[in-house]
């Protein structure tokens, strides 16, 4: 078991290292961050451009730039921004919390709902409530998240207008300035959280509950379930230990694999609801051609994905002894 964890971690570090090289090269070769400066009218003196190149390290060969960048990472330095006054590290730290709140709440709720709905659907195939849930998930799978986000935002505004009170907050992660006191702050956060999380939940609930339904249906048809029924076990015991438990394994992998999609979804949702989170940071950085900022963002995303996959592997081992004992 310990050996397996170590092996997984080493492999995760390997993937992360490789990912850092790939994204560094992709970003370094895809365009000149100083293009705007060079094209500026009236022309900027060459000495200024040269100084800027030096500050960003553009005058060095690619591999040295990479090594400098990685070296900086270990000292907590994410590299210089194209905007001299911007501190990439500080700004990212500010924004991670906001996005994390959105993503974590959405994942937890979506996963719980998907497990329940998928299990019920799988156990009662082609009967109520599966007859309702299955078409519902199909429609949800087809809903583009940005469209849903705009829709919910507009409906939220409309609802607020109708009741004459701002029940749903549709701009930002918190009111500005945030209310004083713990309870009012919490309520304020919740009001801001409802609509954006709903978008993320719906998108992922649908996909995950489909997977869970299939896993349950397959587990249910397994010989070991038939054997358990023939042993005379109660319905509850059969469902819990013989149907659901072996069927938890696939969903773990699926959720871990979906994390990049979740982050992409968060980018869109944050944009629509004007949250100052990671999504906004990415889009701003792209517009500013701030290569190092995009790099930092991608690195954090890759790190999150790798960590989640590691957690998935561990959960896998807990649920399935065949993995635990390295078979």
């Amino acid at each position: 078991m310990a050996w397996m964890i170590l092996r997984r971690m080493l492999s995760a570090v390997g993937v992360l290292l490789l990912a850092s090289i790939v994204i560094f090269v992709v970003i370094a070769v895809s365009g000149d961050p100083l293009a705007d400066l060079r094209d500026r009218q009236p022309p900027v003196p060459p000495s200024v451009i040269q100084a800027e190149e030096q500050r960003l390290g553009l005058d060095l060969p690619l591999h040295e730039r990479y090594l400098n960048w990685v070296g900086g990472l270990f000292q907590g330095d994410l590299g210089p921004s194209t905007i001299a006054t911007r501190d990439i590290g500080a700004e990212l730290t500010d924004r991670i919390g906001v996005t994390l709140r959105l993503v974590v709440v959405a994942v937890v709720i979506a996963l719980i709902l998907a497990l329940i709905a998928g299990t019920v659907s799988g156990l009662r195939q082609r009967r109520f409530p599966d007859l309702v849930l299955t078409p519902m998930t199909f429609v949800m799978l087809a809903l583009p998240s940005f469209w849903m986000a705009v829709l919910f935002k507009q409906w939220g505004i409309y609802f607020n207008e109708q009741v004459g009170a701002s029940v749903f907050a549709t701009v930002g992660a918190n009111s500005v300035p945030p209310p004083q006191g713990f309870v009012p702050f919490l309520l304020d956060s919740a009001a801001h959280l409802v609509l954006p999380t709903l978008v993320l939940i719906l998108v992922h609930f649908a996909a995950w509950s489909r997977y869970q339904r299939t896993a349950i249906a397959e587990s249910l048809a397994g010989d070991h379930v038939r054997f358990a029924v023939l042993k005379g076990l109660s319905r509850g015991r059969v469902v819990r230990s013989y149907v659901v438990r072996p069927a938890l394994v696939p969903i773990i992998t699926v959720v871990a694999l979906d994390l990049p999609v979740l982050l992409s979804g968060a980018v869109i949702t944050e944009t629509v609801f004007q949250w100052r989170g990671m999504g906004g940071f990415l889009l701003e950085s792209i517009n500013l051609r701030d290569g190092n900022a995009v790099l930092a963002w991608l690195l954090i995303a890759a790190f999150a994905v790798v960590v989640f996959n590691l957690i998935a592997d561990l959960l896998y081992a807990i649920v399935d002894p065949r993995v635990r004992y390295g078979n």
């Binding site: 390997g14 993937v15 490789l18 990912a19 790939v22 994204i23 992709v26 970003i27 895809s30 365009g31 293009a35 156990l123 195939q125 199909f138 799978l141 087809a142 583009p144 940005f146 469209w147 705009v150 829709l151 507009q154 409309y158 249906a217 397959e218 249910l220 048809a221 397994g222 010989d223 070991h224 379930v225 038939r226 054997f227 358990a228 029924v229 023939l230 042993k231 005379g232 076990l233 059969v238 230990s241 438990r245 072996p246 990049p260 999609v261 982050l263 992409s264 869109i268 990415l282 889009l283 792209i286 051609r289 995009v294 995303a301 890759a302 996959n309 649920v319 002894p321 065949r322 004992y325």
Partner: protein, 588 residues
Amino acid sequence: MATDTVPTDEPATGGNGRGRVILRRFRRHKLGVAGLAVLVLLALVAVVVPLVWPYGHGEITPDLSQPPSAAHPMGTDTLGRDLFAQTLRGLQQSLLIATTVTVVACLIGVTLGVIAGYFGRFVDAAVMRLVDLTLTLPTIAIAAFLGSVVPTGGVNWLALSLVLGVLMWTPVSRLVRGIVLSLRSLPFVDAARVMGAGNLQIMTRHLIPNVADHIIVAATLLFGTAILAESGLSFLGFGVQPPDTSLGLLVSNAQSAVLTRPWLFYFPGLLIVVIVLAVNYAGEGLRDAANPKAALANPLRTARRRRDADTPPDDTPRGVLDVRGLTVDFGDQRVVKGVDLHIDDGEVLALVGESGSGKSVTALSVVGLLPPDAVGGGSVRFDGRELTGLNFSQWREYRGRRIAVILQDPSTTLNPVLTIATQFKDSMRLAGPLPADHRDRIVALLDGVAIKDPARLLDSYPHQLSGGMRQRIAIALAMVHDPDLIIADEPTTALDVTVQAQVMSTLALARERTGAAMLFITHDLSLVAGIADQVAVMRAGEVVEHADVDTVFYRPRHEYTRSLLALAPSLALAPASRSAAADIEEDS
């Protein structure tokens, strides 16, 4: 099975027979057909209507900011462009990009997937790392960044498609790799290799054609994802750039107009929904057609019964199990045609038949676990009481406690995620709370099936044990409550012959100890010679001979029984087997 015939004088080319079968099955999937129809319709609209529509999508008309009218059904924007033409253009662009993305992703995914699955080892490891790597990159972020750096007025559709395709091939390659991995160990690939076929020949002639239908299904689902990815990207401003447009861009432009001109927002959005929904249903239909699964079994449900079979026979039942006029129908096909069987207390009845004889379905009806698409009829009485028509909780009074079952494949019958002890405890709890000495009980039960050093096994999981060991554990599980009837369904078929001998001896011993009656189902007549009291021979859904064991083996009445006996290849071995067994007895 399949009944279609291919004209024989036609020179045989490739495998289109299967394609036709899939198509026929697909046509029965109504939602799938509807989805495909919608897609074709939308594609036609996207191609044809712009040709005849009077306004181009970029054409600036003198009518600025018009409400909908006959000339402009969706109105015009602030520059005077016809919004209906714009929507058509958006549809066109979105479909074009999604198609290209799908083609690119499938090309990459299939190539890498086939190579990884076929060569395995480090090639596979390398490709899978590449998949991991691609998966760590959120598509939208990379695509947005690459889109933003392309000079001169943003990306064209081809560049956008290539970028998305390069980021979206991983699900295809995972799927293809998995299938190829299982295909490459199949004998037809080995056969080609023995004939001298090279790697490339095997991959192109045997592997790719055999994953083709999976690829089509994956491509369909990918198409839906591609539409969503493209429109999401365009919505953020990093996809299709003005003056050109796409569905995502149209939604983005209409954001502020949701309340004033709602159709501009709803129409492109709903178009996306309809496309993806249609694609997903079409994909689902194709998947079901390519890999038809029989209605999956659900042992928590009880099977349907024919109405006319509800009156049990009024005579007094004989023995511990009395089966009268048992029938099972799948659709309009009757696979068990009025079977009568009976077992007296403590007696062993062997039910022998070849594949398709209906013996397993008979066994399933006796324990109330017919598949959901089967309809049963007739009467099954256990200890005088009718079993057919019982519901789940009524069945529980019999299952495990009075009727125990041993199934064929010991590698799948035990729960893979519970320890051996837990699986025993589950059974023991049927008779009330666990006794304090339950572990000793389990050890005694395992000892009873000749397992050496049983205490060591209690905390193991099934996958840590050999097949023969697992089957003996299944036998011990059947003995927990000293049942009156044991039903053993081909319990040794998956085992080696020496292991089979051990399991058979164990079973015989355990049965004698409890004095239970047994219904033993097998395809191998020789196997039951030593254990059976009565033998019933089944063929094509009927019992052709039902007599005591000596009659069946020495004076068979039915011709089929005689031929089974004559064909049993082990007859020549009889003297050898007898003397070998005698030797072993002397040794021990």
